[in-house]
């Protein structure tokens, strides 16, 4: 019997998307296949399909984000949903309302779906446990825990350029410790059967037990990048640079920044990815970010189709 998973309904279908961890491969592949069918909607005269007509999607962002919120908004609108954006930030919390009270109030406004971004790990899970059964919850990033739609759009990007997961060597570089994106990527890559996932970074920015996730650990960029098919650069969060974890941004760039010379160690057809927003000159050199091997902007475009797929799949599974 499958372990209880709060994301799945009684038939094992995806009802909420909270984390990639523990999701079966078929569900991930179904999302990627469905997203593929949504890609062409963006090229038509009318870039909308009627699947979520009459549904109300609440973008509930307790932590600021431009790209994720915007792509979720576009995705919901292309599905014909009504979208309500709430940048809750710190204001409602400072007025004393709890997270669940906020959600209860929005449910009373007949919400059908919450897209939740929160600085606390587990916030989306908490909401999913307390909403009415017909409401769907999508995690748009919670603390250091998970960012499943980013992980999925990265898988979509990899499959688009590399076709087959089963022969790939994927390197994830930088601040893995604080990265919910890296965690979601690692779970997705291993579930989809990528044989070699590497994480590259200084000891202070890699989780102590990261090898338990089935990845190979490198502290040396040159060794870690050798013959990689996919290089995923993570954002180095500015606030970490002045702390004890790192001497300086310059020092980090010298050791772990992606330059053209270092990229040359990967396979000649390797692709370079970044979840954004980029710190040019910190984790990635501008010439690489804008270079021939960069697929950073296609990632954004694919993100809309992937979010359309996730939203329409969960709404169909009650």
């Amino acid at each position: 019997m499958m372990a209880y998973n709060p994301q799945l309904n009684a038939n094992g279908e995806l009802k909420h998307l909270l984390t990639i961890e523990g999701l079966p491969r078929e569900i991930l592949l179904n999302i990627l296949d469905t997203a593929h069918s949504f890609l062409s909607v963006a090229e038509r005269e009318i870039k909308k399909v009627p699947l979520l007509r009459g549904k109300s999607v609440f973008n509930l962002f307790f932590e600021s984000s431009t790209r994720t919120r915007t792509t979720f908004e576009i995705a919901a609108k292309r599905l014909s949903a009504d979208v309500i954006n709430l940048n809750v930030g710190t204001s409602s919390q400072s007025k004393g309302e709890t997270l669940l009270d906020t959600v209860a109030n929005l449910s009373a406004m007949h919400a059908d779906m919450f897209v939740v971004r929160h600085s606390q790990s587990g916030a989306a899970h908490l909401i999913a446990r307390h909403v009415a059964p017909y409401i769907h919850v999508i995690n748009a990033g919670d603390g250091r825990h998970a960012h499943p739609t980013q992980g999925l759009l990265d898988m979509f990007t990899i499959r688009h350029y590399k076709k087959d997961f089963s022969t790939l060597r994927v390197a994830i570089v930088g601040d893995v410790l604080h990265s919910r994106v890296a965690r979601s990527q690692i779970h997705a890559l291993t579930t989809l059967g990528v044989p070699e996932v590497r994480v590259i970074g200084p000891r202070t920015l890699l989780p102590a037990n990261v090898a338990e996730l089935g990845v190979h650990v490198y502290h040396d960029m040159a060794q870690g990048l050798k013959d990689a098919d996919v290089v995923i650069m993570l954002r180095l969060q500015n606030e970490r640079m002045n702390g004890a974890l790192l001497p300086s941004a310059q020092e980090f760039f010298k050791n772990y920044g992606l330059t053209a010379e270092k990229l040359a160690l990967a396979r000649p057809d390797a692709i370079v990815m970044h979840p954004g927003p980029m710190n040019r000159g910190v984790e990635i050199e501008s010439s690489v970010a804008d270079g021939r091997q960069s697929v950073i902007l296609p990632q954004v475009t694919f993100g809309i189709a992937v979010r359309m797929a996730v939203m329409s799949i969960v709404v169909g599974n009650t």
């Binding site: 296949d33 062409s40 909607v41 399909v49 009627p50 169909g316």
Partner: protein, 167 residues
């Protein structure tokens, strides 16, 4: 009642359509059986434009009760729909709901000059005011049965009746 031979119906359909189409006519097959049939018609009719395909999953009226099909395929319409003379192609015409969905999707690509419908078989049972201009044959099957087009490894088409689960 035994179902007619699909290959013979394809030939009959081609003869019906030939005088009613020009090189400018475009065909759009509806996934999956309609695409197989449209491939055959397209080849025989010598049309100028490539074949289009539509998957109506994003336009179905039973999404609310059945959810999204896990086998949705991309729609590909590789020609300008505005002012086009379109023939939609499906294998089996039944309630008309698939055709309604396909017409809705088609109009999101542009405003065609004319839309007609070709179906290999018409089994009656319409729930919408939709009719086919070109039909291979009328067949009579029970409401609990499903008529499906099959494609063999050598490309030959055949019709098959199965009982619908719970039907």
């Amino acid at each position: 009642m035994p179902l007619p031979d699909a290959e013979r119906l394809v030939a009959a359909l081609i003869e019906q359509m030939r005088p009613e189409t020009s090189a400018e006519t475009v065909l759009i097959g509806i996934h999956t059986g309609g695409v197989w049939l449209a491939e055959r018609l397209h080849q025989a009719l010598g049309l100028k434009q490539p074949l289009g395909t539509i998957d109506v999953s994003f336009y179905r009226d039973d999404f609310g009760s059945r959810g999204l099909s896990p086998r949705v395929k991309p729609s590909e319409i590789p020609f300008e729909v505005v002012d086009a003379d379109v023939i939609l192609v499906d294998d089996v015409l039944y309630t008309g709901r698939t055709i309604r969905a396909a017409i809705n999707e088609l109009f999101d690509y542009g405003r065609p000059r004319r839309v007609r419908l070709a179906a290999l078989v018409d089994r009656g049972g319409r729930e919408l005011p939709i009719t086919a201009q070109f039909t291979g044959a009328q067949v009579s099957v029970g409401a609990g049965e499903q008529v499906e087009l099959k494609k063999a490894a050598d490309g030959r088409l055949s019709l098959d009746v199965t009982a619908v689960a719970g039907g």
